[in-house]
């Protein structure tokens, strides 16, 4: 009887996880294995893939050092810039805003997600192009300013595109913060500044860490923003990858870079978690 019930229970469990397991196997594990195999292959004479076993692709990785470097510098820098802009907004929403309008204000942060990032980034191409801000600058006598296709433009696009993703986790962690703590701190004679650094900031650190890690990791694979606002000059590793598949048709090298990128993401993630544990003193850092 007990055994029959156990079997039934196991069958139900298996049925529940089976679709997800199949999906993960066919569309995550299998592709990853295929990519690994390709990474040890050779570029066919006309491009594409041809079977071989060589480490040549991995040996060639240093030729993309600049793209990796760009990504590893601009991704955290972009995330930190995002944080600088996002924190005051999240703080205002959670602590200062009139509760009557809070929900509306929070929703307004999320709404831009509903318009295509592509279209919004295209709008920035116009704003930064010479008919936009440089044109306005020319009116006050500052001629020939160039904004588009610079690292600055890419960083701006990054802050713009990822700001909501940074605001939300910080807002959530600040919202949980017990307002009585702030009052207590004030009653004990704490000045607003010391209350902020002594109470508010430490308590919001999990949110901050979540936001920074989330944005950094998404940025490591960014393609669109550098492509549109960097003019093919500010190159992320994602751009190098797309290039290898859609121009040079070097599938094995592209696969090797993709594998390396995944390794980089894992390392960054682990470092981020380690820092998060240290800084926030908690293991409760949700990345999702």
């Amino acid at each position: 009887m007990q055994a029959a019930m156990n079997t039934k229970r196991n069958l139900v469990t298996a049925a529940l996880v089976a679709p997800a397991a199949a999906w993960l196997c066919v569309f995550l594990v299998l592709p990853f294995i295929a990519m690994l195999i390709f990474a040890f292959g050779e570029r066919a004479p006309e491009g594409g893939y041809q079977a071989a076993f060589t480490f040549a692709q991995f040996a060639n990785l240093p030729t993309r050092a600049a793209a990796f470097w760009n990504t590893l510098v601009l991704a955290p820098v972009g995330a930190l810039l995002c944080l600088l802009v996002a924190y005051p907004v999240a703080y205002y929403l959670a602590v200062k805003a009139n509760p009557r309008y809070r929900l509306i204000l929070v929703s307004l942060v999320v709404v831009p997600f509903w318009t295509s990032l592509l279209v919004r980034t295209y709008a920035w191409m116009y704003i930064l192009g010479s008919r936009g801000i440089p044109n306005l600058l020319a009116m006050i006598g500052i001629e020939d300013v160039r904004m588009l296709n610079t690292p600055g433009a890419v960083l701006l696009g990054i802050v713009y595109g990822y700001l909501p993703l940074m605001i939300m986790p910080i807002y959530v962690s600040l919202e949980k913060l017990d307002r009585r703590l702030l009052e207590a701190s004030a009653d004990l004679g704490g000045r607003p500044v010391s209350t902020f650094f002594g109470v508010t900031l430490p308590l919001s650190l999990p949110g901050v860490m979540t936001g920074v890690a989330l944005v950094t990791i998404l940025l490591l694979g960014e393609y669109l923003i550098p492509q549109l606002l960097g003019g093919g000059k500010v190159f992320f590793i994602g751009n190098a990858l797309v290039d290898l598949f859609l121009q040079s048709r070097n599938w094995p090298f592209g696969s090797a870079i993709a594998v390396t990128l995944v390794a980089v993401v894992v390392v960054v993630l682990m470092v981020a978690m380690r820092i998060a544990w240290k800084v926030a003193g908690t293991r409760q850092v949700d990345l999702v």
Binding site: R43, E46, G47, R64, S130, R146, K233, N239, D243, F245
Partner: protein
Amino acid sequence: MTKWYRENAPITADKLADELMRLKRGSVTRRHFLGVTGLGLATAVLARQPGLFNSAAFAGDLGTQMSIATWPNYHDPATFEAFTAATGVAVEVNVFGSNEEMLAKLQAGGTGWDLFVPTNYTISTYVKLGLIDELDMSKLPNYDASTETARFTNEGIVEGKTYAVPKNWGTTGIAVNSNKIKAPVTSWKEFFDVAITEADGRAMVHDYQLTTIGNALVALGYSFNSIKPDELVKAEELLIRVKPHLYAINSDYQPSMRATDAWMTMCWTNDGAQLNRDMPEIQFVLGKDGGEIWSDFYAIPKSAANKAAGYALLNYLMTPENAVKEHIANGAPTTDSRVLKLLPAEVTSNKIVYPDEAALTPLEFGAAVTLTDPGRAELMARFKSA
């Protein structure tokens, strides 16, 4: 039928019969018929349901849509609108910045293109890889091989079989905004010199190995088509030295040149003619030290889903009356003497479009080997990710 309905119906029964007869006689297009009778919307909806409605019966097996892969700013949009009006086939236009990109798409499979525009030096490779079909010339009655200029058409013929027919020829030169740049730019050497001085941050090169590497090689005194490793190393040095000074690496430079975000660019004849037509301060010059002369072709991918429509559009484009409008809008020189006769004098006398033979002498046709040479592909990728 109530009186109200009769008066307010989009079309009366008699008129419908009348229009139907006109359609059958062929005196109106299907588009006109559908528009007048209000059936257009209905068929458009029904045609989306495969099997529900046999659209082929209407359009003579052409289907309702097709797709073409071509270059930026390369066609008169009115040409496709007219083709759609005549046949009911809507044309989707995809643009690409390099032949490599088109090849990559075709190699990965599933492009959905029914017609595309490869450049002369790529065709033998497409044939070798089995990616394009030999053209069925019986479906292209409007094409006339005898009126074509052999110099620009011979690469469409591989082992005696015609795989591609020419669209137009052209050159790769330099477009310079003379309001912004005063230094003389008459060669590729000067192009790269000015790019790091007067045009600092304002010059563009193509996102295309053939022309970007080729013109760098020319600036150094080598052949446009070189694949010699030592010469490619020099070209890479030059390109990487210039890169921080560039405005962008992009084959679609017209928007940037028009907005004067960019002041100087590598430029194809047709873009040069279009830019100069609208902004006379933008001049188009050929490198006196060399550069590229090319011809672009139409070919049909083996994987095309709607070959009938591909042939129909190709045949339509080969009609001299249609081709002449394309040439006026596009600005590239024709390979077809029938079209040349129809072109107005201001086009045929335009030195950007039809330069003197002497200016063409230093130019080279792209060589097939550059398309697949791994050294050039990797150089371009390194240059972009540097």
